[in-house]
Amino acid sequence: MKKLIDGPDAVVADALRGMAAAHPGLRVDVERRIVTRTDAPRQGKVGLVSGGGSGHEPLHIGLVGLGMLDAACPGEVFTSPVPDQIQAATAAVDGGQGVLHVVKNYTGDVLNFQMAAELAGDDGVDVATVLVNDDVAVEDSTHTAGRRGTGATLFVEKIAGALAEDGAALKEVTAAGKEVVERSRSFGVALTPCTVPAAGRPGFELGDDEIELGVGIHGEPGRERGPMRGAAEIVDVAMSAINDDMPLQGDLLVMVNGMGGTPLSELYVVFADVERWLSGRARITRSLVGNYVTSLDMTGCSITVCLLTPQLTQLWDEPVNTPGLRWGC
């Protein structure tokens, strides 16, 4: 394993130290592992808190700022944060209007956020939760832990964040977040695995001519392992899976997201193929192409689609100022 780190156990803290140095506009508590906006808590504004395992940067710590998250709680690499940490973040951003937790649907995240919400409730904070479960690669049934939360998390954070910034109440912000979840689907593909620093070796193995279709953002296996193929064919698998689950029509927000190790040029190639795949069915009116919800150094990409409404489009367009996503200011 070759990584630019100063010891595998220090990665999360050291990266937070780097963030603190690079972004004076954020308050970074390295000890407690909480990143907050410097102006938090904002009185009268609903607070937005998210978090999850580290290794998906810029999600979540790079998405704190105006128009998006008020605080993020990074856990160990690929391990959810703990309740005390989430509770502290929740308290730090409560401006009296309650706090929304944006939670990716993994048992660890769900349970730790649930405990934190109880603790925060005991502190008198009104907490609501949006559970993100957009990954169509996972069978959604009572016989599983349900679908994983992946790329749509960023959409939820941006759109709920804009509404919170506009002064909407917790109920409305929560409803908008849930609407985004309902209208969003993702599908991921891995070309090569990722290496967790503490493990020191790849989390799974893929042959020289093999790819994992429907991979999760921790390298969890998906629908099938199959032979390598061209980008257009990979896009066809991903878009068909999404479209089968949620017929695509109207105006779409599409993100072609890199897993961390894939060059931007390839993501644009994929985006061109997605646009071609959609032509005649639906229209991409908003898009993101880049590394947003990553899996350390994994190569591959995920595609996330959201069926827009005029209100969602408008919220998407509102100003955002975070290290990872910025426009309008």
């Binding site: 160990e76 048992t107 969890e220």
Partner: protein
């Protein structure tokens, strides 16, 4: 050979779990790597090390010792197993007498309360291929043999947990990360069930069974 589950034994239980988990961390990680994300060993190692650091060394109440253990697990682990094991210890602690130690019968009832807490929090039933598959038979075996004394009951519980864990191998996971794998989860030992067997074996070890 202990007749009562007192604060000293409770502390020793946590310490021995920490040692065994640390010894088996790589193994537990490999089990989790096969059908999960490979961090179960590291998670519990971090968690029980924190629990040892938070051991209440002054109290004579087993209940207080294990309440602190549950809290430490919840605060230090992060993964699914943190809240679940944390709840296990906190709930079972709360079912122990407020002061002093517990009899075998009292501990048996408490282990049952602990499992119920895990089931309530995680929503897993027996057969879902989780730690529940080891913890449920362990509590039942303990309660059934409590009249034979603490050591015998602990040994019975440890054996039941081990059998319960082994029985997860052919199962298809319905909870946790392994459930994403569908039928590909069959043929693997569940890491949480394996660590539960280890927790109960540690109990048998410290009560001298």
């Amino acid at each position: 050979m202990a007749d009562e589950f007192d604060a000293g034994i409770a502390r020793e239980w946590v310490r021995v779990i920490a040692v065994r988990v640390s010894e088996q961390a790589t193994y537990l990680g490999e089990l989790d790597g096969a059908i999960g994300d490979g961090d179960h060993g590291g998670n519990l190692d971090r968690g029980f090390a924190a629990a040892v650091g938070k051991l209440d060394r002054t109290t004579d109440s087993a209940r207080e010792v294990l309440t602190a253990t549950g809290g430490a697990l919840i605060s230090a682990v992060g993964g699914a197993s943190g809240p679940l094991y944390g709840t296990y210890f906190r709930k079972l602690a709360r079912a122990l007498p407020e002061h002093g130690g517990a009899s075998a019968a009292e501990l048996g009832a408490a282990l049952q309360v602990g499992v119920d807490g895990v089931r309530a929090l995680g929503g897993a039933a027996e057969g879902d291929k989780t730690m529940v598959d080891a913890l449920v038979p362990a509590a039942a075996a303990f309660a059934e043999t409590a009249t034979d004394g603490l050591p015998a009951a602990a040994v019975a519980a440890a054996e039941a947990a081990r059998r319960g864990a082994d029985a997860t191998v052919p199962l298809r996971a319905r909870k946790g990360r392994a459930s994403y794998l569908g039928e590909r989860s069959e043929g693997h030992l569940d890491p949480g069930a394996a660590s539960s067997a280890l927790v109960l074996a540690a109990l048998a070890e410290v009560v001298g069974g």
